[in-house]
């Protein structure tokens, strides 16, 4: 509440949201049960396994990869992945010359539909403030050393455009099935703060 609101008694966070929820249900703005359903979708149904499937398919199917990089929003629909609020998805391809990493400096915009909910550090002040001015230092804190002659590109997400990184396919995975490849794709490799597991990892 605002600072001038001295008459509001101190209330627990749980009471405040319970009050809002019950009022919204009474006013017909929210269906009873919808809150539980939304929490279940975000906490249990969405997650980085979806993004890993997209990456594995892009590694296996050059035509799909071309469509994914050309128009991420449309290509993801082929895999049954759509924006929640109509936001566009842009997929950024890592190459030997370029390493991409995503952030939302203003708040917490994140590609929910392919990665699920964001980790706490992604929403934290240190990550949001520093990744845009000293990306190599921040990436090194994640254990990622980017060669000096390799460009680092930082993409600042917003409400209309969400980004995800298409990491490089690990060496030694020729002939692997999409399912096996997906097992190498970590959440952080799709944020750009990590790389996929090595072929020897599984």
């Amino acid at each position: 509440m605002s600072h001038d609101d001295h008459t509001m008694p101190p209330s627990t966070l749980a009471l405040r949201i319970k009050a809002i929820e019950t009022l919204m249900v009474e006013k017909g703005k929210i269906d009873p049960g919808a809150v539980t359903e939304i929490v279940d979708i975000f906490q249990n149904k969405l997650g980085p396994r979806i993004g890993a499937g997209v990456v594995a398919r892009a590694w296996s199917d050059p035509a799909f990869k071309a469509r994914l990089l050309e128009n991420g929003t449309e290509a993801l629909k082929e895999m049954g992945v759509s924006g929640l609020q109509g936001e566009a998805m842009v997929v950024l391809e890592n190459t030997p010359e370029v390493h991409n990493v995503i952030v939302c400096t203003l708040c917490s915009c994140y590609p929910w539909t392919v990665l699920g909910l964001a980790p706490i550090w992604y929403k934290s002040a240190p990550y949001r403030s520093r990744i845009v001015i000293e990306p190599r230092s921040v990436l090194s804190e994640f254990g990622l050393s980017i060669a000096g002659d390799r460009e680092v590109r930082v993409y600042d997400s917003n409400a209309e455009i969400r980004y995800m990184v298409l990491p490089e396919r690990p060496a030694g995975t020729e002939g692997w099935s999409e399912e096996k490849l997906a097992g190498l794709v970590t959440r952080d490799s799709m944020i750009g703060t990590g790389v996929p597991l090595a072929a020897s990892a599984i």
Binding site: H3, L15, A19, I20, I30, I120, K123, S129
Partner: protein, 107 residues
Amino acid sequence: MRSIADMGGMQGFGPVNLADNDTRFKAEWEAKTFAVNILSLAAGCFNIDESRYSMERMPPLDYLATSYYEHWLHSLEDLLISKGVFTQEEYRARIAELAHKGDGHAA
């Protein structure tokens, strides 16, 4: 004036805390705040730009001293009341009623 939420390039926040790697809601109130926000957007009570702008207008010291989902809760209170979805009086009365019933302590 630059909003406190406009953090890109700010100095002095220190290293990223990699141990904060969890994506799950830490308490029921966080999950409810998230869901009620999504559902309010879907119901057209406000749009996503208004939601973000509401958080960006938080007093800077409050913004820094409160957690991520508290920012969302702030914007829900701000927007639903200012747009007349319910009144400040209704909201206060409901909180008092729930507190009287002993609700809200578990989460």
